[in-house]
Symmetry: C2
């Protein structure tokens, strides 16, 4: 199908996705033979990586993904992926799992981002430690009953500028997370349609709306 992609626009607005893996392990302990079971649903997060970055021909450079992992001994730990610097990313779960095992092996003693492979780094950060990141653009959170994404403002103060999208994992968001995201950070509640979808499929849809909003 279509293959045109505008690579070079100066100051391309950034697309940031934040996914909280409530059970996702923070140590390189999951088994490639059973990522879902041994990784606390790391399979979901891996598919979010493919949805965030993988195009038919190439990777999305204007995208960052923050995977907040709250499972296991080293929680909280956040894995940050930056499209501008990513390499060796293919959309299959096994390739992505190998990259993530390397990331979880890297030491993350504090808030400083520590690189593992190109474009991937880790820090001992939870959701609240991402404030500086998410406040760089307009915040949106996917929630049932939110306004339809088709009706969201597409000016540079809305979908047309830097954006941060909070996407739920299979456990959704805790009340405390909702308070932080919605009340403290003022994220706009947005809905993608009448059917409940997996996190990675939500990211695919959001990208398409952003592609459309920025097409003109």
């Amino acid at each position: 199908m279509e293959s045109t992609y505008r690579k070079t626009r100066l100051h391309n607005p950034m697309r940031r996705f934040i996914v909280i893996g409530h059970r996702a392990v923070t140590t390189p302990t999951f088994k490639l033979q059973d990522i879902a079971g041994t990784g606390g649903r790391w399979d979901v997060l891996l598919r979010c990586i493919a949805a965030s970055f993988c195009l038919s021909h190439g990777l999305r450079k204007d995208t960052e993904l923050y995977l907040v992992c709250l499972g296991g001994e080293e929680a909280p730990k956040t894995v940050r992926l930056q499209g501008e610097h990513l390499k060796h990313v293919a959309p299959d779960e096994r390739t992505l799992a190998t990259l993530i095992l390397k990331a979880l092996e890297a030491p993350a003693p504090g808030l400083t981002w520590n690189a593992s492979t190109p474009g991937i780094s880790v820090a001992a950060r939870g959701l609240e430690d991402l404030e500086e990141v998410v406040m760089k653009g307009t915040r949106y959170v996917l929630e049932e009953g939110g306004i339809d994404v088709a009706a969201v403002d597409v000016t540079p103060d809305g979908l047309g500028g830097d954006v941060a999208f909070f996407v739920g994992d299979p456990d959704g968001f805790t009340e405390e997370e909702v308070r932080k995201i919605r009340d403290d950070w003022g994220a706009v509640q947005v809905s993608l349609g009448p059917v409940g979808l997996h996190a990675d499929h939500c990211i695919v849809l959001i990208h398409n709306w952003l592609d459309r909003a920025r097409q003109g």
Copy 2:
């Protein structure tokens, strides 16, 4: 995010997706450790299964997926998945691969569909042998330069009724396939946006447009 799904509507229009795996092996010979390499990119087709059927809570029942496999000794062979009857489907590639290995083990001596596990069957069919299936609804093919899906007629004669979508694998379509799909079967050329996407991401977007078209 949202979780409402209208399960029960009489005579729900059917959504059919046809993906051609030009190199996808037709025998149960790919290795779980390297599905992409040993399966002729079966990893792409597995992700199309997740995109076609997997919702946040449950499976899409009004969907059928036809995976036309043209690689290996037993080509052509088509694997048919029917949402109404599917069981044990999870979105991770390993679970899906195990189901598909069972399907490829089932004998497929002719055009008759032969069941392997619930909702999954195989037949010695190529693209041209799907005519009866695709002619049940309006046909669409994803192509660069096609009309924007947002502008497609949503009446029961268009997106609002039975539909069949042809989606390219990483190899696209051959000239012969294009002739069959577009000229013989009159498929409308449709585009999803300005950026070239993987087949599974295209299916996610098409489902969302159909969900929206049928929401009213």
